[in-house]
Amino acid sequence: MNFDLEKFKVHGEPLIYGAMISIALVSIGIVVGLTVFRKWGWLWREWLTTVDHKRIGVMYILAALLMLFRGGIDALMMRLQTAAPDMKFLDAQHYNEVFTTHGLIMILFMAMPFIIGLMNVVVPLQIGARDVAFPRLNAVSFWLFFFGAMLLNISFVIGGSPDAGWSAYFPLASLEFSPTVGNNYYSLALQISGIGTLMTGVNFIVTILKMRAPGMKLMRMPMFTWSVLITNVIIVFAFPVLTVALALMMFDRLFGSQFFTMANGGMDMLWANLFWVWGHPEVYIVILPAFGIYSEIIATFSKKNLYGYTSMVASMLIISLLSFLVWAHHFYTMGQGVMVNGFFSITTMAIAVPTGVKIFNWLFTLRKGRISFTTPMLYSLAFIPIFTIGGVTGVMLAMASADYQYHNTMFLVAHFHYVLIPGAVFAVIAGFHYWFPKVFGFRLNERLGKHAFWWIIISFNVAFFPLFILGLKGMTRRMYTYSAETGFGPLNMISFAGALGLAIGFVILVYNIYWSTRYMPRDENGDPWDARTLEWATHSPIPEYNFAVVPKVKSRDPFWAMKHDKQPLFEDPITKIHMPSNTGKPFVLGVVFFFLGFFLVFSMWIPAIVAGIGVLIVLAAMSFERDHGFYIPADKVITTEQKLGGGTV
């Protein structure tokens, strides 16, 4: 085997050397810190081997926040490069890598894990369960996601990042036109984390269908749990398509097959079809849970139950069905004629109807309420007008004829940022602020929270509204530079200013976490917001078994009914509680998958085969292992409950 160091190197850019140095410094810092404070054992026992859904959720959210900053820096670099005509900050190759990884990271390694993190923390609590249905599988999901994300991230400094756009259209993404290893990273990193996501889908469907507390009928489930259920059904239907598409892509790139190439009967548009058959439902995978989060928050801070519960559920179901019938709107301009474009126009526009239903139901939840403007509520309220702009421009784009003029322009870029940022990013921030006290036992500072909010909301509009106009002026997306005569300069400069403002907002948000950890008073009763659903009925921070006694549900807002209608929730006596035991195997599996992916990226066959055997060995070890978990004895549960302040007994 000839070992060629050259192909690992990424040349030239001071930015890349900077990234290398900072990655090295951070890694050394973490290792030294863990060693000095003797935390290796703690890290392994409490986190790396955990199967507790709450801790897995926290790790998802931490990883997502890190990725938010990675993707955010990509965004800043892009906006800086296009802030003025003929900028020389990035070259074409570098810019192409930056916008590709920005899209990939923000959708797949920021928005989705953030949402999966929140669903991990909240859903078992909301349905009165002790954990998810398959706690170990949950750990496997997390570590596959995590190491998939890491694999993509190291591409920046080892070998080069993918550079064919996050949609990786063929034949551009083929070996012929993208000869660097960037798109090998794409196919393998997405594959590894995608398998993890698919497992999450199965896990949460079973959890929600089989593990609800007695009395919690489907139509009594909190809206967030509903949204998560529907989302996971979408995951289970959509992700296998991605798995297959990525596998074919890998064959094309690594083994010389010809599925999507130009010659020998390859079909480039087959990739586009497969990608968007997964990719469009993916958009709803990140947006539907947001609808659930907003429903919880708006109801809580209006002091009202959710208006039109049944039509909210129905509209999510309809959206999930339609999400599979709209993929071709991503390539109206492929020349498929009036019939096909007409069909997809109508299905796409039809999504506006159930979405509109939800907007009006939220507005009517506010009606006759008593609205308090806390930080999570502010994000939820800001969502409504901003997302509506995203929605109506979505209808405009859905019109096939008009799309001939918007397709691939900045108008489209503006539209999907107007949908995805309020629809996913504001939602996860709102959910983060809302559920933070549940997990950590103290609130985030409201004053800092509101500062961050105003920075983010105003800067968001400054950053993205100009792009609508740029689109109508004829500026296409993914151009690394443009000339002064185009007249695109001033609006791009405004947009860059907005991007800077957004960055400031996110820095304040993170500073808030630090500040609040140090100074915020600890929470006494586990219910800081006077909330309505079950997750607030247990202590903060949450004991490992969630509920000492399994709650009995008799209405839609059981905790509210307990507080205000004196409806009892915990009636049974405390008994011993069965818990799953920790395991290091999911983490090890993630590590070997990471090496398998890495060796395949560089076509290093022998090490890849060794790593592949490693994967099989870990899987075999997992399947032959006998582990029945353990019991927490009743008296230990009682002492824990008393220490946390009682309440459930």
């Binding site: 096909v340 006759k368 001939y404």
Partner: protein, 303 residues
């Protein structure tokens, strides 16, 4: 009340930005296809502003009226399950709007996929536009000439572009004359347009195709038919022939400037088959038989 300030600011910024309309290329059409699209876009913007207005008015009312304040302390909001008539209203009205826009979409898509209505009696000028690396090749089968990175055609005459690619998918767009369409390596797609004013129009590729994508522009010039005929005659008498070798070297180059030839590459490098499975009915109505290339093309298809 701090909620409303930024909202007003957003509205005002919208109004401040509107006067820039004439500089909005897409809304400044110079031909019937682009005009149809521009009208469709403006219509949809108006309808959508109506939707926005309803949502924003309700939103402001709710926030102003029902916010927590000193005077409503102790107020206990009612329990409301929903209201079947209200919910039916906000299901029905969007359905009507979507139905209306669907009709508009299908009609206008049909219009721009074909030769513009007022020009149906004229025989379209066929130009093959193909992309390679980051340049555009324009082949005129009827005139037997070929250009690179610029295209000339007569004003007030329908032009039928036939698009394909020698590499990654590209998208052919002259925003002031017509909407865009993909050029792909394995099929030929069609784009019809007419220019109603003389002048130079910017055209470009809008589908990301690699390193040189940002510079992948061309100029489309519409000229009087006399000027056009004169230009064709000029090219035929002065420009050199496009040999296969020369064409190969052109394909291999990343970028080139403008080039002009007195023969086309279509003879030795024929275009891919047309996009027949997806072709809509109207295309087959078009009279291909009296076009010079049609025999070549069909024989290619039967290969």
């Amino acid at each position: 009340m701090n909620k409303k300030g930024p909202l007003y600011a957003m509205f005002f910024s919208l109004f401040l930005l509107l006067p820039g309309c004439s500089s909005l290329t897409v809304l400044n059409p110079q031909g019937p296809a682009a005009k149809t699209l521009s009208d469709t876009i403006i219509l949809s913007i108006l309808v959508m502003l109506g939707v926005l207005a309803v949502v924003y008015i309700l939103y402001i009312i709710m926030l102003v009226k029902y916010r927590a304040k000193k005077s409503n302390e102790g107020y206990i909001p009612p329990h409301e399950e929903g209201n079947i008539w209200l919910e039916a209203t906000w299901i029905a009205i969007p359905i009507i709007i979507v139905a209306f826009l669907s009709v508009v979409t299908v009609k206008t898509t049909h219009a721009v996929e074909n030769v513009p209505a007022d020009y149906k009696d004229q025989k379209p000028l066929v130009i093959y536009a193909s992309s390679s690396n980051w340049k555009w090749h324009f082949s005129y089968p009827e005139e037997g000439i070929e250009t690179v990175n610029y295209v000339n055609f007569p004003v007030n005459r329908p032009v039928e572009f036939r698009l394909y690619s020698f590499g990654p998918i590209t998208s052919f767009w002259i925003p002031q004359l017509a909407g865009q369409k993909y050029a792909m390596s394995d099929m030929t797609t069609y784009l019809n347009l007419v220019a109603e004013t003389q002048g130079d129009f910017l055209g470009r590729n809008t589908n990301f195709s690699g390193k040189g994508y940002a510079q992948m522009e061309f100029t489309a010039t519409s000229m009087s038919s006399d000027d056009y005929d004169k230009w064709v005659k000029d090219v035929k008498s002065t420009a050199s022939q496009l040999t296969e070798d020369k064409f190969k070297s052109l394909l291999a180059a990343a970028h080139v400037g403008r080039e002009t030839f007195s023969s086309t590459h279509l003879t030795f490098s024929p275009p891919p088959a047309e996009h027949s499975e997806h072709m809509d009915m109207d295309h087959s109505n078009m009279d291909h038989s009296n076009m010079e290339m049609s025999t070549d093309e069909h024989s290619h298809q039967s290969n």
